[in-house]
């Protein structure tokens, strides 16, 4: 790995570890100066960029990945008393959830507790036995899988979804490419969706959900297949969308310290609590 590539990778990893641009710039400049003066190979001098960035993050006391809390806006998604049974087995019982503009809600719970069903009900793709869902604005939905057309390229997906949102072709392509770049992905125009890896297909799925800047984003485990870097990029993007005033609901079964959210809806016990 040549020094320039290593330094660029280090800058990315520092950002992923929540190191601010000033400190990250300083660390990269110091590392560049050391490499230039010593003539050493970066891997032998510092090790892999990810490991060095982690060490830097530890040395500065660990990053505060939680973006500053902002005052939430208007209610965007209001779920009241949603109940759903499958073959007499209750899956959801009187579930309530309120998500305002500028808030992230995580829907968690054990396998089979109805997380995806809940999100499909919120998106209007499935009907509950009882209950109402009120949406103030437009909805973007990212399914867990199978939300793409295998024989279309990523850019054709952007055009297809963009046309539904009323976007001209060039605007849809521009938006899709920009959102792909934010997830560290540059779509190759000739590659059909069926030939993409699982993680890349999920990136496409996520970008499709974001087309047209919907007010409410419903994301059903959108990071399946993501590598660690993309996973961190994803959460940085989610925080950015929250700061832009979006209401976001993320279905997840992996809620660790990185996944800072405002509301947690645990469907195992169907209790809503503020994080």
């Amino acid at each position: 790995m040549n020094p320039q590539v290593w330094l660029a990778a280090l800058a990315g990893e520092l950002s992923r570890h929540g190191i601010g641009p000033d400190l990250a710039g300083h660390v990269v400049a110091e590392a560049a100066a050391h490499l230039r003066d010593s003539g050493e190979a970066p891997l032998s001098a510092f090790g892999p960029p990810a490991a060095y960035a982690a060490a830097v993050a530890d040395s500065v006391g660990g990053p505060d990945l939680r973006p500053p809390r902002r005052v939430p806006g208007a209610v965007r998604l209001n779920v009241r008393g949603v109940t759903k049974r499958y073959r007499r087995r209750p899956v959801l019982t009187g579930v309530d959830l309120t998500v305002r503009a500028g808030e992230i809600a995580a829907v968690v719970g054990a396998n089979g507790c109805g997380k995806s069903t809940f999100l499909r009900i919120c998106a209007g793709l499935a009907s509950p036995d009882r209950g109402k869902v009120y949406v103030n604005g437009t909805v973007g939905y990212c399914p867990q899988d199978s939300g793409t057309c295998g024989f279309l390229t990523p850019e054709e997906h952007f055009v297809l979804i963009g046309a539904g949102r009323g976007m001209p072709r060039t605007a849809a392509l521009r938006t899709g490419r920009a959102n792909a770049a934010a997830l560290d992905w540059s779509p190759v125009s000739a590659t059909q969706a069926r030939h993409l890896s699982g993680g890349t297909r999920q990136k496409l799925n996520l970008i499709m959900a974001r087309m047209g800047e919907p007010d409410v984003l419903l994301l059903d485990e959108p990071y399946q297949g993501f590598d660690r870097g993309t996973y961190l990029d994803f959460w940085h993007e989610v925080w950015r969308w929250r700061d832009a005033g979006k209401a976001i609901v993320v279905v997840t079964h992996l809620l660790n310290q990185l996944d800072r959210v405002d509301i947690v809806l645990d469907l195992t016990s169907t209790k809503e609590r503020v994080a």
Binding site: A123, G124, Y134, V135, C149, L152, I161, G164
Partner: protein
Amino acid sequence: MTKTCTVAEMALREIARRRSVLVMLLLLPLTFYLSRRGDHLGQSIRFLCLGLGWALSTAALFAGSAARAIEPRLRLCGYRGHHLVLGRLAALWTVGATLSLPYFLLIRFDQHDVRYGAVALIMAITVVVAAPFGLALSAALPRELEGTLVLLTVIGLQMMMDPAGTSSRILPFWFSREIGTYAVDHTDSGYLERGLIHGATFAVVLTALVVANSSIRLRQRSHLQFSSPR
């Protein structure tokens, strides 16, 4: 209109990329045609049209099944049921017309003493009926295998049943036998009229069925209420 055209464009791109399927679609009517060309030229025309209908219905069946996963998502991002159905139908009709053209030319130069205009008419109605027929099957039978077996049964019955019998008129491609008789045997225009009425009826009913099914399946659910952002 932009939404319908975009769906049609993407559906065409999807079909065009299934090259092996396209080759089979192209060859299936030819095998039907050649099976009777040696002993009964008129029958070979009727078989060719049935083969064309079968090939396009199968393509529509698979296109409809493949689209089921993404259609709810497209509905959510602004498409209506009729945009999706009409776009897909437009793509399938374009494929059908493209497939028909070489076969019409084949008959034009391989067969003599035939009403070519009537042959073109059979092909046109076959294309118009076969696409919604395949989409209707995919809506009623979401699993492709079941749909394919029903399609096989319908085409098999179409070949075996006596076209003069009343019950054979419930089959979607009965018109091709009637107009085929008019084209090959130079019968009176009664055959043409009956065929036209049958074909037009099936085209309208099947298309309406597919649009209605899509509208119901992709309707906005009553539990969900939208309001404009404040």
